[in-house]
């Protein structure tokens, strides 16, 4: 992985934020290179377990971005997303992950600059935190194995 | 003539201070004039409320601070209650005036300053205001000796009117209050 040591994953809805990221590109807005974008139809498709899976597999930060409330292409997908993701962000500490490593935001197709700022800000937040060490969190190839997953901490097991 | 390049950069900090203290945004004002049209004192101001807001928008804070608007506005808040943008115009004016006071910008409305000072002095000394004393002192100090004298018999025909200055017991507490307000006029 390039662009420094950390790995960031972005789950973006196709209609707003992905288009916003396209816009940032079309406008040639320089951004840090750690972000890897996964395109989805809607943030309502983002299963919290998918976010946790990303962390478990080695992501150091996960960003979810969709349409502004009221602007959802599917009318209400982002409201469901908001509820789930808000809950998820409050639960991060429980999973042993610094809450700053997870963020969700609303960026429209016309907000290229805002996307660029968000990526930059998010990357700069995670860089000082460094790699995520999921103690007892289970399999991660490039980390030391801490033995078998301790108790119920691993979301993967729960799944 | 307002040199905008200058005022907009030089006035920026003071406008920000006014906005911060009042919690209002001067840029919100769209100059509809509702505030002025409802203001019972607008005729007496050099700048009616909407123009006062405009001065702040243009960064011409000096002019706003020196205007009679702040001094003559008696804070009835009619403008604030009718503003279509919900700007608390009265608060913006009052805040600007207070900042002008702090900066020692001299009030041209001497009568009003005299009234306020005598009022507060009376309360500071005795804990309660005595309207008759206030009238007497104001007339004496302002030189308008017969001001409102015709009202005195009208007041005196009331029952129970206190002829002498009332005083509260715990004047020490009131002095402490004024002392604190003098040391720290704002929280």
């Amino acid at each position: 992985m390039s662009g420094g040591d950390i790995k960031l994953v972005g789950f973006l809805c196709n209609w707003c934020s992905y288009a916003g990221a396209d816009m940032a590109g079309t406008s040639r807005m320089a951004q840090p290179a750690e972000m890897r974008i996964v395109r989805l139809p809607c943030t309502g498709r983002v299963n919290p377990l998918l976010v946790l899976k990303a962390f478990q597999e080695g992501a150091d930060g996960v960003l979810v971005s969709g349409c502004h409330p009221g602007d959802c292409h599917y009318n209400e997908g982002n409201y469901y997303a908001h509820r789930r993701l808000e809950l998820l962000s409050r639960m991060m500490a429980v999973y042993g992950i610094e809450p700053e490593r997870f963020r969700y935001t609303w960026i429209s197709a016309s907000e290229g600059a805002r996307w660029a700022e968000t990526v930059t800000g998010f990357t700069e937040t995670i860089r000082p935190l460094g790699r995520l060490n999921l103690a007892g969190g289970g399999a991660r190839d490039d980390d030391h194995h801490q033995g078998p997953a301790a108790g119920s901490a691993s979301p993967a097991e729960k799944r | 003539m307002i040199p905008l390049s200058e005022t907009l950069s030089q006035g920026r900090e003071l406008v920000a201070e006014i906005e911060h203290r009042s919690g209002q945004k001067v840029a919100d004002c769209y100059q509809c004039g509702t505030c002025s049209s409802t203001c019972a004192a607008a005729d007496a101001f050099d700048y009616p409320p909407h123009m006062f807001m405009r001065l702040l928008q243009l960064g011409a804070v000096d002019r706003a601070m020196a205007s009679t608007t702040g001094q003559l506005c008696y804070d009835c808040m009619t403008c604030s209650s009718r503003c279509p943008i919900r700007i608390d115009v009265a608060d913006v004016i009052e805040t600007t005036k207070n900042i002008a006071d702090e900066q020692g910008i001299r009030e041209s409305e001497r009568g009003l300053r005299l009234f306020r000072n005598l009022f507060l002095k009376n309360v500071r000394r005795h804990g309660r205001l005595h309207e008759a004393s206030l009238l007497a002192w104001f007339n004496l100090k302002s030189g308008k000796l017969t001001n409102d004298l015709s009202l005195v018999p009208l007041i005196l025909r009331r029952k129970n009117v206190r002829i002498v200055q009332p005083r509260i017991k715990d004047r020490a507490q009131v002095r402490r209050i004024f002392q604190r307000a003098k040391e720290r006029p704002r929280w």
């Binding site: - | 203290r21 009042s22 919690g23 019972a40 004192a41 007496a44 003559l72 008696y74 804070d75 009835c76 808040m77 009619t78 604030s80 209650s81 608390d88 608060d91 009052e94 805040t95 207070n98 009568g111 009003l112 005299l114 009234f115 009022f119 507060l120 309360v123 804990g127 309660r128 205001l129 005595h130 309207e131 008759a132 009238l135 104001f138 302002s142 001001n147 409102d148 009202l151 009208l154 007041i155 025909r157 009331r158 029952k159 129970n160 009117v161 206190r162 009332p166 509260i168 017991k169 715990d170 507490q173 009131v174 402490r176 209050i177 604190r180 307000a181 720290r184 006029p185 704002r186 929280w187």
Partner: protein
């Protein structure tokens, strides 16, 4: 032990230029069988000259002291003066909303500040103690011959978010009790316009113009009287009515009553007891009470 009586905060005006407000209020309250305990050693609220506005110290400390005293003994404090009511509510709002202000205030008072006593104006209190139905029952249409205007002015309703009493654009809380007197209460377009406040001494010109407008509209609305709950408004509109006429070259006549005087009349208390003689512009009581045995 907290008393069930109201703590009563007359304020400075009610001891000098507005004693008829004090007397008539006490008469009404007495007739309703409610106990009033005058607030011990109360001080001036600071009125308009004490800087308040958002963060000014004096505007909290002066009324705060009264709140603090009342809090020791009473659940509710009633302030008939609209200005006093306004400042008490302001202080309460600041004290309730900001711990730092609470702490600093406690430091000045040398005691943990008590600020939670309920603050009531005269309209709120009387609405609580006598329903319009009950007043209608007592008044038996006593004032059926007259048309009166409810004049709210500024301090009773503004700023609405702090006072939370009534709409600042279209207040209506005085109306039910006023109508229960039997009188007609037509829409008074200037019910929220300012009378000129404390400008009387220093800038009479502004005040007289503003008050003149209110009286003029009251006359053209065909009112027999205005009713107010503010001594300053009363001073400007009644006490200065001659000055107004002189300055504007008019000969308007508009009696201005205190809310308590009107309610007292409806309850059958005599005009003399309610100190109606103290008014500069006298209402024609014979006509008002025509047909009352």
């Amino acid at each position: 032990m907290v008393s069930t009586a109201y703590s009563y905060y007359p304020g400075c005006s009610l001891t000098s230029s507005a004693t008829e407000y004090d007397i008539s209020f006490r008469k009404v309250v007495e007739a309703l069988g409610i106990q009033l305990d005058e607030l011990e050693d109360w001080n001036c609220c600071g009125a308009s000259p004490a800087p308040h506005h958002k963060a000014e110290t004096l505007g909290v400390l002066l009324p705060g002291r009264n709140l603090h005293i009342a809090g020791a003994s009473h659940d509710a404090i009633v302030a008939p003066c609209a200005g006093c009511y306004n400042r008490l509510k302001y202080a309460q709002y600041k004290l309730a909303g900001d711990q730092d202000i609470r702490e600093q205030t406690s430091e000045v008072f040398q005691a943990e500040v008590r600020y939670q006593t309920e603050v009531l104006n005269i309209v709120q209190m009387l609405n609580r103690e006598i329903t319009p139905e009950a007043l209608r029952e007592r008044s038996q249409g006593r004032l059926a011959n007259i048309r009166i205007g409810a004049y709210y002015g500024c301090l009773l309703t503004r700023p609405a978010d702090i006072l939370g009493f009534d709409s600042p654009r279209d207040p209506r809380k005085m109306r039910p009790l006023m109508e229960a007197t039997g009188a007609e209460v037509p829409h008074f377009p200037f019910k929220t316009e300012c009378c000129g406040s404390y400008m009387g001494l220093a800038r009479k010109d502004i005040l007289l113009k503003a008050s003149h407008r209110i009286i003029e509209v009251a006359v053209s609305t065909g009112l027999d009287a205005l009713v107010t709950a503010c001594p300053l408004c009363h001073q400007n509109l009644d006490l200065r009515q001659e000055q107004i006429n002189k300055a504007m070259g008019t000969s308007l006549r508009m009696p201005v009553l205190y809310f308590s005087q009107l309610i007292g009349l409806a309850m059958g208390i005599s005009p003399e007891e309610l100190e109606l003689d103290a008014l500069v512009v006298q209402p024609d009581m014979d006509r008002w009470l025509k047909g009352v045995a």
